[in-house]
C-alpha cells in the first residue's frame, strides 16, 4: 500500500482506497502500544519536527508519542518559543528547518492553507495537524478508525456532526472522509454556525439536535470555540446548551448502540453533558487511544520506504 502524494494535507485529497489502507495499517499498529516495551525500530535515525503555531495537547503529544514509538527523533517547536516572535516569516522558518534535513514536518497553523504552502516549497513530507478552519485530516482518520472498530464497516452509516460547523476543520475533514467511505452525514447547529450552501458538499442540514440523534448511528459533538464567543454566533452559552448540549434526555429516542464522539478539548456542560461524556456510549477516549496508532501508520506509510537517508 503506497500513498499517492508525499504529504497528508487533507482528507479531500485522499481516495477511499488510501483511507482504508491507512486504517488497516493503523489497526496493526495498535498492538505496539500494548507491549511492555512500546517501541519498534522502524524509523530509527529519522527526524520528525512538530511545528505547532497553535495550542495543542492531544494532537502534539499524540504525534510525538507516535514518532517515538517508531524510534524516530521528534523535535517540538511551538510558535511562542520560535523565531516567529522575532518576525521570521513562515516560509523562512520552513526553509531553515529543511536545511537541517528532517524527514517529516508536522504543521499546525491558525491560517488555512499554511501547511499546503510549506509543503509546496520543501521536499520533505508534511502532515497537516490542523490549519485554520480548513482541515484536520489525522483527526478525521482516527475518528473513522474508532467508528469502524465499533461497527466493523463504514458504508451506510449515518453520522450527525453537531456544533460550530463553519469554523470546524474537524467537521470539514470528517465530511470529506465519511462521504468517500459511503457514509451519510447530517450537520447540526444554529444557522449562524452552518455555512450557507453547506448542502453542496453532499450533507444534510438540521437545526434540531434531538431530531438528528434519533436518525443516526454516530453523533460527533464539536467544541464550542470559546475564543469566538464575542462574534455573536449565539446569544449566550445557556441558550446554546439548552438547544445543542448532548444530554441523556436528548438521547432518549436514539439507537441503543449509538456512538458518541468528541475531538476534544471538551467544554463540559456546554456541548456535552457530563453523564453522557462519561457514559457507556462515549468513545471519546478510544479516539485519543486510536490517534497514536493512526499517526504511527501515517508516519510508516510516508517514511517507511523510498528515502535515501537510511543506513
Amino acid at each position: 500500500m503506497n500513498l499517492v502524494n508525499k504529504d497528508i494535507l487533507g482528507t479531500e485529497q485522499l481516495s477511499r482506497e488510501e483511507i482504508e489502507g491507512i486504517l488497516d495499517t493503523a489497526v496493526s499498529f495498535k498492538e505496539v502500544s500494548t507491549r511492555q516495551i512500546k517501541k519498534v525500530p522502524t524509523l530509527r535515525g529519522r527526524t520528525i519536527i512538530n511545528l505547532f503555531f497553535e495550542a495543542s495537547t492531544r494532537t502534539r503529544t499524540s504525534f510525538e508519542i507516535a514518532g517515538k514509538r517508531l524510534s524516530a527523533d521528534v523535535i517540538n517547536i511551538s510558535a511562542s518559543t520560535s523565531s516567529t516572535v522575532k518576525g521570521e516569516s513562515l516560509l523562512d522558518t520552513a526553509y531553515n528547518l529543511e536545511a537541517m534535513n528532517p524527514d517529516l514536518l508536522i504543521v499546525r497553523h491558525s491560517v488555512s492553507g499554511a501547511p499546503h504552502m510549506i509543503a509546496s516549497h520543501i521536499k520533505c513530507p508534511v502532515i497537516n495537524a490542523g490549519d485554520g478552519a480548513h482541515e484536520h485530516p489525522t483527526q478525521a482518520l482516527l475518528d473513522l478508525l474508532t467508528i469502524r472498530e465499533h461497527t466493523q464497516q463504514l458504508t451506510g452509516l449515518k453520522v450527525a456532526i453537531v456544533g460550530d460547523i463553519a469554523h470546524s476543520r474537524v467537521a470539514r475533514s470528517n465530511i470529506h472522509a465519511m462521504l468517500k467511505c459511503g457514509m451519510e452525514v447530517i450537520v447540526v447547529g444554529p444557522p449562524t454556525m452552518i455555512p450557507i450552501g453547506m448542502e453542496c458538499l453532499g450533507v444534510r442540514v438540521l437545526h434540531n439536535l434531538e431530531e438528528a440523534v434519533s436518525q443516526v448511528d454516530v453523533v460527533m459533538m464539536l467544541r464550542i470555540q470559546l475564543e469566538r464567543q464575542n462574534e455573536g454566533l449565539f446569544p449566550s452559552f445557556r441558550e446554546y446548551s439548552n438547544l445543542f448540549c448532548l444530554t441523556a434526555d436528548k438521547l432518549k429516542n436514539s439507537r441503543k448502540d449509538i456512538l458518541i464522539m468528541h475531538p476534544g478539548p471538551v467544554n463540559r456542560g456546554i456541548e456535552i453533558a457530563l453523564d453522557v461524556m462519561e457514559g457507556p456510549h462515549s468513545v471519546i477516549l478510544d479516539q485519543v487511544n486510536n490517534g497514536v496508532a493512526l499517526r504511527m501508520a501515517l508516519m510508516y506509510l510516508l517514511l517507511g520506504g523510498s528515502s535515501e537517508t537510511d543506513h
Partner: protein, 173 residues
Amino acid sequence: MNADEMNRAITRIAHEILEKNKGTQDLALVGIRTRGVVLANRLRDKIKDIEKTTIDLGILDITLYRDDLATGKDKPVLRDTDIPFPIDGKKVVLCDDVLFTGRTIRAAIDALVDFGRPAQVQLAVLIDRGHRELPFRPDYVGKNIPTSKDMRVKVQMTEEDKEDQVIVIDSKG
C-alpha cells in the same frame, strides 16, 4: 517437494522438537508471517497428536523490524503481531518457511526480544536454501535445497495457496 513429502517433513520436525526439548514443558511456537504461521500451526497440531497437549502459539509480523524498509520501493503491508502469552523463560521455536539470507530471522529475533526474555530461541524451517548473509543455523530443517542465488524458492501451503508443494524457479530461464 510434494504434499506427502511436506507432511512427512513436518511430522519429523515435530518429533525432533519434542525430542530435543524433552517434551512440551515451557515450549512455545512463534510463526513468522505468512507461511511461517502455517508451519507453526501444523507443528502444533502434530505435537498435539503426539503428546496430547496444546502448546502456545504466537504470530510475528517482522515488517517493522526489516532492514530494507528504506530501500524498497513498495511499503510492505503491515499485519498484526499476536503473541498472547508471556515468552519469559519459554523455549521458543521460531518457524519460517524458507531460510535464505537470515535477515528475516535477525528481524524476528529483534522483535521477539522486545516481548520478553525467552530461555531459548530455536529455529525451524521447512526449506534451507543456503546463501546466509548472517550467522544463523537452523535447529530443524524440513529439506535442504541447494540453489543458486538468483533462483526463487516458492513454498505453497493449502491454508494460503491451492496445494502443498515447494517449487524452485530458475529465474534465468
